[in-house]
Symmetry: C2
Subunit: 266 residues, 2 copies
């Protein structure tokens, strides 16, 4: 159940420390985003990584070194405090999951906000489809695949996908609906046999929770914004920060505005 | 009339010095691209500029410092020789228009290839529409507008647009057709009164040639890949290189592949 009806009020609760849980289902209709923060020395490499891997990394906004405000997505926001839970990576290891990163923020940090599949859940629900993990109250299942991302500088690693089970005809409908939303991962990248993309056990996701398939359903796989976290593990940067999976940055942009977000010229 | 039927044979003729003219109408159906080359020190700024200004700068491929090959668009290509005519900018001034830039190429150059409106001309012609500048055998009209691009680092400046005249019903059709091709500038950004976007005299374009409107026609304006050239003038870099307007980099990618170019994950 949603307690917060818009992005700004949810961000205020997060900033004050009152809200530290996953953001799925909150501020319904407002765009949520994945966060990746890296030092300026590798910012070109990461920006290029997003350009070369647009399915997992659909870039919404870049916040340059010296600023902590996502001025287009959420004027007045503070990226150091407005995510309910962060992940801190040091030398390629996950070392902490704090709710505030003000104490370790560096002047040379560049922040990247990437589209999130939470933004296509509402269009699917509105089309009368069931999203199993929402029905069960679980986080979505996410898996590392054997599909390599296109490397860029120090960044390389496997594509991570999220999975939702659908009957075959619903998978076709879900494909058509999400294909129209490339800014939030677009159409699926695979359906059916998980082994074909290197996933051995569907009931043992690498991130999130297991979600069972019913008789006759296909697992349908979308490129996932957790991909940079798999890539950060391999890049072994001295320090990098992301959101914790499911604990997203919630913006002031309505999902209906997303198709026009990069179209506007003034 | 097309003498060269594919991108590879046209690039060979360009590289040998046999072909130095504009590329419109050549290698029909193959994607043509705008070229921008800047030193690595400002490559992050320019990459961010393309991300913030996707209508004029729809990025197809980035070639990193140390390489001169557009490996995805045209394997085996050489960006120093495979454009029929270049523009060389020193300290914010256009100083030369050579057909080969091997002699001034720097190890730290990063190259950006951007989609070009030539790639939506064929779909418009196929839909039975007249493109006036092609009928007249002229280069398309291009104008600096009063719409500022979103700045990024050292890069800022006005949006440049290309103009094609259409009857009102054709403008609607052209809008629908080009809206489906965001990788090559997408839908128009304006139609009708040129004064509303700061264009004073339609018959005096800033780039290309004048193209007359017939009775009852609207001027229809698309964001243009010449925008970076207006921006380079203002950035005053010690050295930067672009293609000369109309003299594009011709790829091996078919126009039909463009909608999938950033969708492919392997």
């Amino acid at each position: 159940m949603s307690t917060y009806n818009d992005g700004a009020s949810l961000r205020r609760a997060i900033r004050s420390g009152a809200y530290t849980r996953p953001t799925s289902g909150q501020a319904s209709g407002y765009v949520q985003a994945n966060l990746v923060v890296v030092p300026r020395a590798v910012a070109f490499d990461f920006l290029l990584f997003t350009q070369r891997n647009q399915k997992p990394c659909p870039l919404l906004e870049v916040v340059e070194a010296g600023s902590v405000e996502a001025a287009r997505l959420a004027p007045g926001s503070d990226l150091r405090t407005d995510v309910p839970r962060y992940r801190v990576f040091r030398d390629g290891r996950l070392v902490d999951e704090p709710t505030d990163v003000s104490g370790i923020w560096q002047e040379d940090f560049v922040s990247f906000l990437l589209g999130c599949s939470f933004s296509f859940e509402k269009p699917l629900l509105d089309a009368g489809m069931e999203i199993r993990n929402i029905t069960l109250g679980r986080n979505v299942s996410m898996y590392r695949t054997n599909i390599p991302c296109r490397p860029a500088g120090v960044f390389a690693g496997p594509l991570v996908v999220s999975m939702r089970p659908f009957a075959p005809d619903e998978a076709l409908r879900a494909t058509q609906i999400t294909a129209k939303l490339p800014q939030v991962h677009g159409a699926p990248i695979h359906q059916g046999d998980p082994g074909l993309i290197g996933i051995r056990e569907l009931d043992k996701p690498d991130y999130g929770e297991a979600v069972p398939l019913e008789e006759g359903e296909l697992p349908v796989f979308w490129a996932c914004g957790v991909t940079p976290q798999a890539v950060l593990l391999e890049a072994k940067l001295p320090l990098a920060i992301t959101h914790a999976p499911g604990h997203m940055f919630v913006s002031d942009i309505r999902e209906e505005q997303i198709p026009w977000f990069h179209e506007r010229v003034r």
